[in-house]
C-alpha cells in the first residue's frame, strides 16, 4: 500500500457528474487522502492499469462505460480484482445494489454520501486491504510467485495432479561442521545470503522452491505451471548456482572465511504435484520416484566427488546440449537395479 501518512491512501473517484466528483474528492482530501478522479469507466480503467491505487469510489450511472462494466472488467483482471471498490451511487432499487456486491464491490454508499459514513467505510476497506496485502506479502515470502499465483487463480485445495517435470535437490557440503565453528548469527546470515542467491537462480529459470530444510532445498521445474523444457531449465539453474557460489566464495576467501561448496542432484519424469498437509497448514510439494531419485543423486555427489549429478532421463532430454561424464551404473538406495548417473561438466552453457 502506498501510504503517504498513517491511514492515508491513494484513492480514485469515478463519477461522470462534476459536482459529485468535486465534492467527493474534497471530502476525501479533507480526510487526508490523496485523490485522483476520472469522469467515466473507460478513463478509470486506463488510470487503474497505469497507476497504483488503494481504493476506488465508483459511480454506477455513467456514459461510455458504466460502473457495472468497470466492476466486470476488474474481476477479470488479476492485477485489479483485489482492489477494493466502494460504490457511491443513487441507484434506484435494491437489485442494483445486490448486483454491485455480486460483481465484487466491497461496499455501497448512497448519494448524497454522508461524510461520517464515508470515513468509516473507507477506513474499514483500507484496513481489509492492508491485511490482504500483508497476507500476500507473507505468501510471497514463504511460497513463491508461481505457487501464490496458482493459489490465487485456482484456489486452495488439498490433493495433487500428475505432472511432468524435473526435480532438483541441493545442499551445502560440510555444513554441520561449519555451523559448529562459527557464531549462530553468522550462520543465519550465511544461510540468508545463500538462499537469496539460490532462489534468484532458481526463480530466473522458472523453478519453484518447494522445500527448505537447514542448508538443503528442493525445487521443481514444470509445476505448478508447465515448462516446455524443464530438464534444460533445471540443469541451467544448477550451473548458474555453481557459478554464483564461485563468485560468492571469492568474497569469502577475501574475507578470510572458508569456502562454501554445494552439491546438486537432478532427476526428471512424472510426479505428483499438489498441496499436501491439512487445511490449516499445507505446502506445495512433489512426490514420487523422481523426487526420491533426485534426493539420492544429491546425496551421491559427496561419494562421487562431483558437483552436479543428473539421471538418465534428464540426460536424454538434453541430448548433446550438455556435456557430461558417465559415472556408470550406481546402486541407489530405494532402486532395485543400479541406475546410470551422469556428472554435468561445470562452466558450460546449456
Amino acid at each position: 500500500m502506498r501510504e503517504t501518512a498513517h491511514g492515508a491512501a491513494r484513492l480514485l473517484v469515478v463519477d461522470d457528474n462534476k459536482v459529485n466528483r468535486l465534492l467527493l474528492t474534497r471530502s476525501l482530501e479533507l480526510q487526508g487522502h490523496s485523490v485522483a478522479s476520472a469522469e467515466n469507466g473507460r478513463v478509470a480503467l486506463e488510470m487503474l492499469r497505469r497507476e497504483s491505487f488503494d481504493l476506488v469510489l465508483l459511480d454506477m450511472e455513467m456514459p461510455e462505460m458504466d460502473g457495472f462494466q468497470v466492476l466486470g472488467e476488474m474481476v477479470n483482471d488479476l492485477q485489479l480484482r483485489e482492489l477494493p471498490v466502494i460504490v457511491t451511487s443513487s441507484l434506484e432499487g435494491i437489485e442494483s445494489v445486490v448486483r454491485c456486491i455480486e460483481l465484487g464491490a466491497e461496499d455501497y454508499l448512497s448519494k448524497p454520501v454522508n461524510p461520517v459514513l464515508l470515513k468509516a467505510r473507507i477506513g474499514a476497506s483500507l484496513e481489509k486491504k492492508r491485511l490482504r496485502d500483508q497476507q500476500k506479502e507473507w505468501m510471497r515470502r514463504f511460497a513463491t510467485r508461481e505457487v501464490a499465483q496458482d493459489l490465487q487463480q485456482s484456489g486452495f485445495s488439498l490433493g495433487g495432479k500428475r505432472v511432468h517435470g524435473a526435480v532438483m535437490f541441493s545442499d551445502i557440503r560440510g555444513f554441520t561442521a561449519l555451523v559448529e565453528t562459527q557464531p549462530p548469527e553468522e550462520t543465519i546470515e550465511l544461510l540468508n545470503t545463500y538462499y537469496t542467491l539460490m532462489f534468484d537462480a532458481i526463480g530466473s529459470h522458472g523453478g519453484v522452491v518447494t522445500l527448505m530444510a537447514g542448508d538443503g532445498l528442493m525445487a521443481i521445474f514444470g509445476a505448478p505451471l508447465p515448462l516446455p523444457d524443464p530438464c534444460a531449465n533445471a540443469v541451467r539453474t544448477a550451473l548458474e548456482m555453481i557459478e554464483t557460489m564461485d563468485l560468492f566464495n571469492l568474497e569469502r576467501v577475501a574475507a578470510n572465511k572458508p569456502q562454501i561448496k554445494i552439491g546438486v542432484g537432478i532427476a526428471s519424469g512424472e510426479m505428483v504435484a499438489g498441496y499436501a498437509g491439512t487445511n490449516e497448514r499445507a505446502t506445495y510439494t512433489c512426490i514420487g520416484d523422481t523426487v526420491n531419485l533426485a534426493s539420492r543423486l544429491e546425496a551421491h555427489t559427496k561419494v562421487a566427488e562431483r558437483t552436479i549429478l543428473i539421471d538418465g532421463a534428464t540426460r536424454a532430454a538434453l541430448h548433446e546440449r550438455v556435456t557430461v561424464e558417465l559415472l556408470g551404473p550406481v546402486a541407489i538406495r530405494g532402486k532395485a537395479a543400479p541406475v546410470e548417473v551422469f556428472s554435468v561438466n561445470l562452466g558450460q552453457k546449456v
Partner: protein, 119 residues
Amino acid sequence: MTDEMTEPAIDLATFDELKETAGADFIMELVDTFLAEAPLMLDGLRSAFAARDADVFRRTAHSLKSNSNTFGAHALGAMARELELTGIAPVAEANGKPLESLAQEYARVAAALTDLRGA
C-alpha cells in the same frame, strides 16, 4: 405543484451541513459548478426527450436528482427522480409539460443558491 412552490427551494439544514463538511470556500466553487452544469442537464433532458433517447434521459435525470439532493434542493430532486423512474412516456403524454415545471423549479433553486452563495 402548490406544495413545491411553498416549500423552500433549498433546505437550509442540508445546505449548512454540506458547507460545514466541505468548507465555506469550497462550497462556492461547488455551487458555481452546479449553476454551470445544471442548465446543460436541463438541455440534455430536452434533447433526449426530443430524440426519444431513453438511456440518456434516465441518466441525465439521475445526475440532476443526485446533485439536487446534495444541495438540499429536495423538490427539484424529487421531480428529477420521477423523470428517472418513469422515463419519457409520461412526459410525452403531458406534451413535455413536466420538463417545463422542472425548469421553473430549477430557476427557483438557482436564485436561492445564488443568494446563499453571496451570504
